[in-house]
């Protein structure tokens, strides 16, 4: 739940930020941190609960919600000597499930921080309240490590049941030093009626930003005070193929600063220019090639005719020459890692070249230095990522430029390279930063670019199956599947420390999830280790009862690789935009020798759907080799052939409709009937189904 500056090095004039500790993390994430207007000592005072809220049995705005946060308040307050947060939450319980979930309340805090003014109250629908104070909470130590303790205050709330309103408030000290920033989700798994974040008597300058909140109101904002009010926040629920959570879920951020921290106080244009300039200069100085880099680069590109070829040579050299410590481990690499981690100064590209080991960013820096050595115009590019947020073009967005790549000018364009991402071949970026905004760190001007999305053709899945079908509908044959680009990288990366038997088990499971009676034998992998693509697998497949028998006829779904696959989208409606991990394409080539004594009965081809060369589509071809008594089936699918992989929520019905149509076409069947006579009946040519 917390943010942290992750620039990789400390920017000028900025204090190292204090990260949000686990106490606050738990506290805010689990208990919807909030605040009362001021520190109240002694007996807690409770605000009256409106009769309507006590009586209501269901959330009016979001029917079916198990609970509703009626009020969540959180206040930062400070005196010259200390700072603290006041928290208050009022939750209406609508179901036994919510009573169960909120029946034990925990507040976790560091041993170096304090919690006080702790109180809770449960109010029944009839207005009868029970209050709980400090002594009703149980103290315990959750974790002790190296002299550090994470503590917990726990209240098992008695008699909490559907209909009750439960309130919790406490005060906790907080660090509001310059440079600290905190962020919270204000949109919670349950609906929130009122969410208030206030700043009282701030001793430092600060900035507040909020995202993905429809109804937010910033009031009374000045250098020491402000109130941010948000109303009627819907419950947050994950959906498949989502944009980064922070790009769709309501959240806000407060950053403490002062006039000396120029990065926090500049206007947006000046701020980004300064950031760009700072990183640009730093990178230029770091990647300045020396003679060794120059001679290495020259040798690496020997014979390369074009710029693209030269860059590919350098890219491959970096990936092959340097043992990437983010991906590999061995006794020697552990020593190298220790040496590197113990260093007080950053490792230079020359050292990376000499040591032949480094983290991903060292590999990128070596690549940049080599590229500069042979005359390319190179910059560092700091990129947003789907692992955090893509919405970075705002005054604080630079906090979330977590990934770095190398921008190389080719003509008028910038091309992006990240050989530090070990599995990515030259020309591709890892999928989590595709389509993300990046800042090309130029010292003179701000250059925003968008990382390219590799088209579907770069991530091909090619499946080839040669099968025989018997008269009982059993299918048997050989399969070869190759997975290129992101499609292969995903598995290679996930499986890199697995045993081969584990991989086989996992892969068999995938197949039998789709085809429950499948038997998979002789699994044989190629390119499982190392960075080589495509990842390829061969196996023998036997599927008992693959085809249906309807009386004397056989009903055969020829799309063996997609038969039984679950629908991609099942929900009726969609709240958030749709983001696919990456573009990809599939090419199926299947031949099925039909059982003796059967022939095609008015066979049709599945209906084509969408546009294979456009955003989404599938194209089928069905044929018949009479002499070999063999059915031919081809399927070509692509999502993002035009590199489009993100869609507005409004597109969901159309997108679901297309996927459903593809799913249906994938399940298209061919009817086989017994041959009427010993002689071959002429097979009809396949025609598209209507």
């Amino acid at each position: 739940m917390q943010g942290q500056l992750r620039s990789g090095k400390s920017p000028r004039l900025m204090h190292t930020p204090v990260t949000f500790d686990r106490l606050q993390l738990k506290l805010f994430s689990l208990f919807l941190a909030c605040a009362i207007p001021a520190v109240v000592w002694g007996k807690p005072e409770w605000e009256p609960i409106p009769a309507d809220d006590l009586a209501t049995l269901e959330c009016k705005v979001y029917p079916g919600a198990s609970a509703e946060a009626l009020i969540v308040r959180q206040t930062f307050d400070a005196s010259p000597d200390e700072a603290w947060t006041n928290q208050f939450q009022r939750i209406k319980i609508y179901s036994p499930k919510a009573a169960e979930e909120r029946g034990v309340m925990n507040i976790d805090y560091s041993e170096y921080s304090k919690v006080w003014n702790l109180a809770a109250r449960v109010t029944k629908p009839n207005g009868k309240s029970t209050e709980f104070h400090k002594d009703d909470f149980h103290d315990s130590v959750v974790v002790k490590v190296g002299g550090y303790k994470l503590k917990r205050k726990t209240l098992a709330v008695p008699n909490l049941e559907a209909g009750d309103v439960v309130e919790l408030k406490w005060t906790q000290d907080a660090a509001t030093n310059e440079g600290n920033y905190y962020w919270w989700y204000c949109q919670l798994p349950i609906p929130v009626r009122h969410y208030t974040f206030s700043m009282e008597n701030s001793q430092h300058d600060y900035r507040v930003l909020w995202f993905n909140v429809a109804h937010a109101d910033l009031r009374n904002a000045n250098t020491t005070q402000m109130t941010l009010e948000m109303q009627n926040l819907p419950p947050f629920d994950e959906e498949p193929a989502m944009a980064p959570t922070r790009d769709v879920r309501g959240w806000f951020l407060v950053l403490f600063t002062n006039s000396y921290l120029r990065w926090f106080t500049k206007d947006q244009a000046g701020l980004w220019q300064e950031i760009s300039s700072y990183f640009g200069e730093d990178f230029r100085l770091l990647t300045k090639p020396n003679s060794q880099i120059k001679s290495t680069a020259k040798e690496a590109i020997a014979g390369a005719a074009t710029d693209a070829e030269k860059l590919k040579r350098l890219y491959d050299f970096c990936q092959q020459h340097v043992s990437n410590l983010d991906y590999f481990d061995s006794a020697d690499l552990q020593k190298a890692k220790k040496k590197l981690d113990d260093k007080s100064r950053p490792q230079t590209p020359e050292q990376t070249l000499q040591l032949a080991s480094g983290y991903s960013h060292h590999v990128n820096e070596l690549f940049a230095s080599l590229a500069r050595a042979v005359g390319f115009d190179v910059r560092q590019a700091r990129s947003a990522s789907r692992d955090a947020t893509l919405l970075v073009r705002n005054p604080m967005g630079w906090l979330f430029l977590d990934d770095d790549t190398v921008a190389v000018r080719r003509g008028k364009e910038w091309k992006f390279y990240a050989p530090g991402d070990y599995y990515e071949p030259c020309g591709m970026l890892k999928s989590s930063i595709e389509s993300a905004t990046c800042l090309v760190c130029d010292e003179d001007k701000v250059i925003y670019e968008t990382n390219p999305v590799a088209p579907a053709a770069n991530s091909q899945i090619t499946r080839r199956g040669r099968f025989t079908l018997d008269a009982d509908g059993n299918l048997e044959g050989d399969v070869e599947i190759s997975m290129d680009g992101h499609a292969g990288i995903r598995d290679k990366s996930n499986w890199r420390s697995w045993q081969s038997a584990e991989i086989d088990t996992e892969y068999r499971k995938r197949i039998t999830t789709q085809l429950p009676s499948a038997e998979v034998g002789d699994l044989n992998w190629e390119n499982l280790q190392g960075d080589k693509l495509p990842l390829r697998v061969h196996y023998k497949l036997k599927v008992a009862g693959y085809a249906d028998t309807a009386g004397s006829k056989i009903i055969l779904p020829p799309g063996v690789f997609k038969h039984g696959a679950a629908a991609f989208f099942t929900a009726e409606t969609r709240q958030y935009p749709i983001f696919f991990d990456h573009a990809w394409s599939e090419h199926d080539d299947i031949e099925i020798v039909l059982p003796e004594g059967y022939t095609l009965d008015a066979a049709t081809a599945p209906a084509n759907v969408g546009d294979v060369a456009g955003t989404l589509g599938v194209h089928y071809g069905v044929g018949y080799k009479a002499k070999a008594h063999t059915l031919l089936y081809k399927r070509d699918f692509a999502l993002g052939a035009n590199s489009m992989i993100a869609f507005q929520a409004a597109s969901y019905p159309a997108l679901k409709n297309l996927f459903d149509a593809i799913n249906r076409s994938d399940e298209h069947t061919i009817v086989l009937k017994p041959k009427p006579a010993p002689a071959d009946a002429p097979a009809p040519a396949a025609t598209p189904a209507k």
Partner: protein
């Protein structure tokens, strides 16, 4: 009920470790002789394909005259593959209020050298609260060197823990997931003290005895990896139960030991004396709940349902005094509205008493991880971890959960901790287990019944399919009803899934993959407590489910309901026994024949049986509909790995038989 955890849990639950008491903050530990001797042992042949192997798992327990154990645990694990580096970790669970971790050392060796010294700061100490536990005295010391360990490394650790025994009994399990070269337990008792040990299990360790020391040793145990539908006992070689007895005249201060079940009952009684109390509010609530109840069973149902709804919250305090077996006062639990299993059972007994119905505390064991079942031959509380209620009923109450018992006659067993299993039924995990009715004069345990698939795991699904006017879409109106444990599972879903999107997921979960793109238009849940039946009704539409054929033909799949209740085995071979979970599915799919369509050929009836279950599908042509009826039964069975192929064949036969496409054609 949370009984004291065992001095030594199963290997996967506990990889021992402890608080280090190291003089210098960053000092690493000297290598002990036992580890030097062990780390060069050859990897056993049966460790093939294992990610790591336990070269030594050695625990020595030394008991003093006060019943305080000093436990020294030594373990050496060789990492065989990088995927096994997570095993370079250990932890020790201990009672934070009673036990003391005296010493903890750990080492990681690579080619005879330590790639990095292990420091005090590498150990962490955490609370082990399970979800729903408000307070738990149990803690765990942990060390994790997985970030450093590589294939070929040997990770070793040694812990010394002082553990006062709560009762003079021990329960010990032999066996683990990883292959083990040597697993050893030794127990030394003071002169004059004696032990009575009983060993259960198929692969019992060898026992050697010298003076006052007993040693059990198990060797060359194989790799037992995770496999689907694993028999929970598959990794347990043996369970050792030990009763320690002080010599006459030395029993003062020595914890209690047990030689009869009556003695165990006496302990419960003394701990729980006065806990089953009452209060004016409790009495008033009991009377209001039972006011409209005409029969004893109605009263039991009303009170049982009330206590089931009380929230489950554990507060584990005073375990060193045996409070793990002590229920909180019924009046306290009633007024607080929460409690753990023994609290809820005790409250129910109190409320039943106020309603004129006699009931007893029943001590039980739920062990989904290892399938341990209490042994009658060994009286002792260490065999249990749960509490339920046994309600005295007469012959007018005929329910599956009624058992004729030794002392109390007919007892209706009921678990108020399970919020979804109704009176008359028992949770799956305690079916077929042995329980102790905490009643004076008992001499043994009572076996709870195990219910068969047809009676307790029945799911009935009915779907009516109507082809749309476009002749490519289909509308389905369905109803899923479940009773017994299947009903409990659906009831649990109903409670958890209240939002429209969650209910939609519940419906789509019941649909076959092929039909899952359907738009769910309507869904309704109903729980009939009298019939014990939970029902999920829905309608949905799939715009492209029907395939048109040239010449006015249609292909319709009747396979619209999921087979997620059936196990799926993807591996060609099996190492460990299987636990088949019972279920009976009765499906009826009615395809309305409209638009002048008739069925080209009615699919054939098919049925078969196997030792593991049965399958039957029947198709009948009514005047304007084709009706498919299908019944699939899976029996509750533990199947040896040798019979894996037969089980798989049975399931494959189901898939093979379960093909339900029909061809429709225009005209007669």
């Amino acid at each position: 009920m949370r009984f004291p955890r065992l001095p030594r849990l199963h290997f996967f639950a506990v990889l021992f470790a402890a608080i280090p008491v190291i003089p210098a903050f960053c000092q690493s530990y000297d290598t002990p002789d036992w580890l030097t001797a062990t780390m060069n042992l050859a990897t056993p042949e049966n460790a093939a394909h294992a990610p790591a192997v336990i070269l030594l798992d050695d625990t020595s327990l030394e008991m003093d005259a006060k019943g305080v154990l000093t436990e020294i645990h030594r373990e050496a694990i060789r990492i065989l593959h990088i995927s096994g580096r997570d095993y370079a970790a250990g932890h020790a669970t201990y009672d934070g209020k009673a036990d003391r971790v005296l010493e903890a050392n750990a080492w990681l060796f690579r080619d005879g050298k330590q790639p990095r010294p292990v420091k005090k700061g590498d150990w962490i100490d955490i609370a082990t609260n399970d979800p729903g536990t408000a307070i738990d005295e149990y803690r765990s010391k942990q060390i994790d060197l997985s970030g450093t360990a590589l294939a070929g490394d040997v990770f070793g650790y040694e812990t010394r823990v002082r553990r006062p025994m709560v009762v003079a009994q021990l329960r010990w399990s032999f066996g683990a997931l990883l292959p083990i070269a040597t697993e050893r337990l030794s127990l030394a008792v003071p002169p004059g003290f004696s032990i009575d040990d009983k060993m259960f299990g198929a692969n019992q360790p060898t026992l050697s005895h010298s003076g006052n020391t007993w040693t059990w040793t198990s060797t060359d145990r194989p790799y037992r990896p995770n496999e689907p539908y694993l028999d929970p006992t598959a990794r347990d070689d043996a369970d050792l139960l030990i009763n320690c007895t002080a010599p006459a005249g030395s029993a003062a201060g020595f914890p209690r030991s047990f030689s009869t079940w009556q003695e165990v009952t006496s302990m419960y009684e003394s701990l729980n004396q006065g806990q089953c109390d009452s209060s004016a509010e409790l009495v008033a609530k009991t009377h209001s709940l039972t006011a409209g109840c005409a029969t004893t069973l109605d009263k039991i149902r009303a009170l049982g349902a009330y206590v089931q709804k009380i929230r489950y919250i554990e507060i584990n305090e005073g375990l060193r005094y045996g409070y793990g077996w002590k229920a909180r006062k019924a009046s306290f639990v009633f007024s607080n509205g929460y409690g753990d299993c023994k609290d809820k059972a005790n409250l129910l007994i109190a409320m039943l008493r106020e309603a004129g119905i006699k009931a007893h505390l029943v001590i039980a064991m739920i062990d989904p991880d290892h399938g341990f079942v209490a042994h009658s031959e060994f009286p002792g509380p260490m065999q249990f971890n749960h509490a339920i209620a046994g309600i005295e009923v007469d012959s007018s109450i005929q329910l599956p959960a009624v058992v004729e018992t030794e002392k109390s006659g007919r007892l209706l067993f009921f678990d108020p901790t399970d919020p979804y299993t109704q009176v008359g039924d028992l949770p799956y995990l305690i079916q077929g287990t042995n329980v102790q009715v905490a009643e004076n004069g008992i001499t043994g345990l009572t076996r709870l019944p195990r219910f068969d698939a047809a009676h307790d795991f029945l799911v009935q699904r009915h779907v009516a399919l109507t082809i749309s006017a476009s002749e490519t879409g289909i509308t389905a109106a369905g109803q899923i009803s479940a009773a017994g444990q299947s009903g409990a599972s659906l009831r649990s879903d109903f409670e958890k899934d209240t939002q429209p999107t969650e209910l939609e997921k519940l419906v789509t979960h019941q649909l076959s993959d092929a039909f899952r793109g359907a738009l769910v238009e309507d869904r309704k849940t109903e729980d009939n407590p009298l019939l014990g039946l939970c029902t999920l009704s829905f309608t949905c539409q799939h715009p492209r489910f029907v395939q048109r054929l040239p010449g006015n033909g249609l292909v319709v799949k009747l396979d619209v309901l999921s087979r997620h209740y059936l196990p799926n085995f993807s591996e060609n071979e099996r190492r460990l026994p299987i636990q088949l979970q019972p279920v009976m599915i009765q499906d009826e799919v009615v395809l309305k024949l409209t638009g002048g369509y008739t069925v080209d050929e009615v699919p054939r009836k098919i049925s078969f049986e196997s030792p593991y279950g049965s399958y039957a599908a029947d198709f009948s042509l009514m005047r304007d509909a084709l009706v498919m009826k299908r019944t699939i039964t899976i029996k509750y069975l533990r199947v040896p790995a040798e019979n894996y192929a037969a089980v798989r064949k049975f399931l494959t036969d189901i898939v093979r038989a379960d093909r339900s496409s029909v061809l429709l054609k225009k005209g007669t």
